[in-house]
Symmetry: C2
């Protein structure tokens, strides 16, 4: 199956390994004409759901980021795989790959544990049989330098998400300072795999679509109407308990899913994947085990699909909490909290930090006044374990910065206050889509075979019309009596209406239908002798081979309606 799809993908210009002219580079694929169009259409459907329908803001941020971003995000410290080198040939391997079969879940082990297992089993180098060295972490970000000399360190982003977090102040303002709001981003991301395998499933350069949805920490409820998806059937594999199929409504009611925002995006994900051609019967949502979650996540459900590679993760819907904003707030020294008004003002007894001016003055000099103001506006949450307080002030140049205030400079007092609202750091729920994997799976799930009358086996690629690279083939029945000219005119009119067509006048009409079926073209428009008489053509539907006759004047509109792109 995999070989058939890969062969079709290359033959029909969907995708193929990059740089074959130079012997190839593992982990890179190029998208050919049909693949680029299919990928674009899948992304367009995603944007239609997330940006247009759900009303999220779109962002297109830089791929190269400075070091600070990934110091804050934790990627510099955490985004690594364990590597082992051959001491003889110098090749490097993923240590967990070499421990496969030696442990039920080598992916979950630490360096020392993996090294012990590999040593004890006497695993040799898979390339040359030589002895292996020790296990060490290898950071998976591609590094570069910005500007001349050693310049400023830069990294190619491993996810699009950080571009959204570092732009949070701008984006919150553009969302009119209301929670919740979502920001969507589509684009390239990079992961310098040690030894990529599994074709397009694990690439060093790939395409993602991510949404970061910002919530009030106590109100994880998206603005979308949950009722719309109440009856959506989902196959769920919870962290504890058995796999089951139930509606989203049931999953929420029984507490199987308790995070309502995560649940909403799980349902939206199911709708999206089905829309672009993933077989719902081969789709399940699996909750991450505590041990397998990324360093920033507190809960995560993966959309997994059954492919020729087994169950593959296509989408992760993760609760990132306030991890990222908090990290950037610390690293950048900029207050990223937002003010949220209460529905009604509250009378609250609060702990306030009262400045002790005789201590503050000598210590902070010209900044004593803003520090005192900041202390008065803080509560006990500003106090750190060592008794000091961290507050944010605005310095003389108008820049915000964080200041550490020793405990002798203030005292903690309980006061009654009328509060109109509070400052909070938003929490984030993130649906994150691997576009290349999704498109590959769409190809696998669309791949079918049909036996022709003469017994020949023909490939039919049942891509949903809404994502098919070519919407319609235009086929003159014969190449004489003005039929071909009429077909060419029709073809160029459809093109100028923005409809993607393929003109094909070579070979028997049966062979041409077969070629179009294999390329996933949903509709074939045939121009025949009757077309000259009454200005009509037939439209053939790939999946049933049914035909209808329509007037040429209605052809573009009919195709748009049939394709669902009107």
């Amino acid at each position: 199956m995999r070989e058939k799809v890969a062969s079709l993908a290359k033959r029909r210009g969907f995708l193929w390994p990059s740089y074959e002219l130079y012997g190839g580079v593992a982990g890179f694929y190029d998208w050919g004409p049909n693949g680029a169009a299919l990928k674009r259409a899948v992304v367009e459907q995603w944007l239609r759901l997330f940006v247009i329908e759900e009303g999220m803001l779109e962002l297109d941020s830089s791929l190269i980021s400075p070091r600070e971003v990934f110091e804050a995000s934790g990627h510099l410290a955490e985004f690594s795989d364990l590597l082992i080198d051959c001491l003889k040939c110098g090749n490097s391997f993923r240590a967990d790959h070499l421990a496969e079969g030696l442990h039920p879940n080598p992916d979950s082990l630490e360096a020392a544990q993996l090294e012990k297992i590999i040593k004890e089993a006497g695993v040799p180098c898979p390339e040359c049989g030589g002895p292996l060295g020790s296990v060490r972490p290898f950071n998976l970000m591609f590094q570069t330098h910005v500007g001349p000399g050693t310049g400023r360190e830069g990294f190619l982003r491993p996810e699009t998400a950080q571009g959204i977090f570092v732009n949070f102040p701008q984006l919150f303002r553009l969302a009119r300072e209301h929670l919740p709001f979502g920001v969507a981003q589509v684009g390239r991301a990079f992961r310098n795999e040690i030894s990529p395998r599994q074709g397009v499933i694990r690439l060093r350069e790939f395409n993602m679509a991510e949404a970061e949805v910002f919530f009030h920490p106590r109100e994880r409820e998206w603005t979308g109407e949950m009722g719309r998806y109440e009856d959506t059937e989902l196959k769920l594999v919870p962290r504890e308990g058995a796999e089951r199929t139930c509606t989203l409504g049931d999953a929420l009611e029984t507490g199987l899913m308790h995070n309502r925002a995560v649940a909403y995006f799980v349902a939206l994900t199911a709708r999206f994947l089905t829309l672009v051609g993933i077989d719902p019967a081969r789709l399940r949502f699996r909750q991450h085990l505590q041990t397998e979650m990324a360093h920033y996540a507190s809960d995560c459900w993966d959309a997994e699909v059954l492919t020729s590679y087994g169950w593959v993760e296509l989408v992760g819907v993760a609760d990132r909490g306030d991890y990222d904003l908090r990290q950037h707030q610390e690293r950048a020294g900029t207050d990223l909290t937002v003010f949220v008004q209460y529905p009604e003002p509250k009378e609250l007894e609060v702990e306030r930090l009262t400045p002790i001016h005789r201590a503050l003055g000598p210590m902070f000099k010209g900044e004593a006044k803003p520090v005192a103001e900041a202390l008065k506006a803080s509560d006990s949450t500003a106090i750190k374990p060592d008794g000091s307080a961290k507050v944010v002030i605005t310095d003389a140049e108008g820049h915000k910065k964080m200041v550490k205030v020793p405990k002798e400079c203030f005292k903690l007092e309980r006061v009654k206050e009328r509060m109109t609202g509070e400052r909070i750091l938003p929490h984030v729920v993130e649906p994150s889509f691997g576009i290349d994997r999704i498109v590959w799976t769409v190809l696998e799930h669309a791949y079918t075979e049909r036996k022709a009358e003469d017994g020949e086996v023909m490939t039919v690629l049942r891509l949903p019309p809404v994502v098919a690279p070519i919407t319609a083939a235009v086929l003159p029945l014969v190449n004489k009596d003005g039929i071909e000219e009429l077909a060419m005119r029709i073809d160029s009119e459809l093109k100028s209406e923005g409809i993607r067509t393929a003109f094909d006048s070579g070979g028997s009409i049966g062979r041409r239908y077969a070629r179009m079926d294999e390329a996933g073209v949903p509709f074939s428009v045939t121009v025949d002798y009757q077309s000259k008489e009454d200005q009509s053509v037939t439209i053939r539907w790939r999946d049933t081979q049914d035909q209808v006759r329509v007037p040429i004047t209605h052809l573009a509109a009919s195709l748009r309606e049939l394709a669902g792109t009107d």
Copy 2:
């Protein structure tokens, strides 16, 4: 003007400098919600013209490329700027920038000349006033490493074009082995500028749209109908002679433009730029001087527009000849020539290489037979200056490779042959578009001001509806009597039809119109009391403030028709 547009761009979420949270990184910009949508729409129009209408193949190839690609393309040797360091503070500068005012065209000078001029004028470091060092070239490609250890050297592509050239064999096959054919690619490219300035005009990370069009070297005529653009008026600045405005037809007839393929794409470029909102009165096409052409080009016309930065190059239409394919053919040792049939077979006297088997056998052993066959199929062009011949053979594993055959292994003979065609290396014409610059210029050219009745000056961003980020605002006249609910229902129906809308119920209707005018929203749909009675709404056109009333049932279709997106 520039400040007004930059301020509007940031305020309304079009674009802003990246990484402000961390103090910024020069040469990087992020596209916000309105900007991402505007850029996407501009790209969509480009694809519609180049891929759908002109029938080019689309490609989406990898951003990271191995060293071999840029060894072949010449970028490793040639793609550099001249740099000068301060010996005191260590900052680096573009040497030609420091020579501005000291020479009419410092950009055209060699390192030694620039150094002389700078030294003689005693130019100090612009940062600290310290003394400057010597001038040296700095390669503008971002470098990285693929895989662990020192890995394999990789570079971020400086243009999308090389991805097309290295895939030429695949793409030629997908074009059904016919010339001419075109391949289009849209995506990120990178240029590690020494000291970027001029905002979005010179970025380190940017977006390009490029088409590489492959021709028979003696037939530079694209398949598109030239007649369509015969009357297109162009302002031309030829290499020799004065600037003039004439039609494309005149330019061709008078020999002002002699390369017909370049001429065709110049006209198509003018159509595209005008379509997305560039003012044709501020557009000209300038032919490159011999000294300023890129290392691969033999002729080039730039589309230049007048902006607040002066005349800026947005598009280059270059004749790259067979430079790139020839370089890759040499570097990869793979024959990239294609067979082109003559209209009719020809009887030709040709020089053929006759193998001398007694010399060939001992030297090539098992490969003597394929080498002999390859010699017989070669003509005198295979002979190198040293008298040896280079031929391509297929080895035992089916790989093609180039073989050097010493002169004692063959003799050159004149024979008469009936030829059905010939092998040629295609030539390339390349229209190359800088998308970020184009979008910025669209913003500048769309920026206008209107005086309100009370004398207040309002900004109106006259973006063409076909690229406007938001197609329609939905505005309830009042927020009571069910008007707001009706407006919300209309808004969500338009969204689910895929129309980009903005709902706004805050403030007077006049203020809301003004907000939408500033954001470039072409149509405002107002829901009023009459809407409840007869299910109709008004549509207001941003540029004239005219209003029409339409039934709600026809609203989506009317908006699509007005926006030209139906």
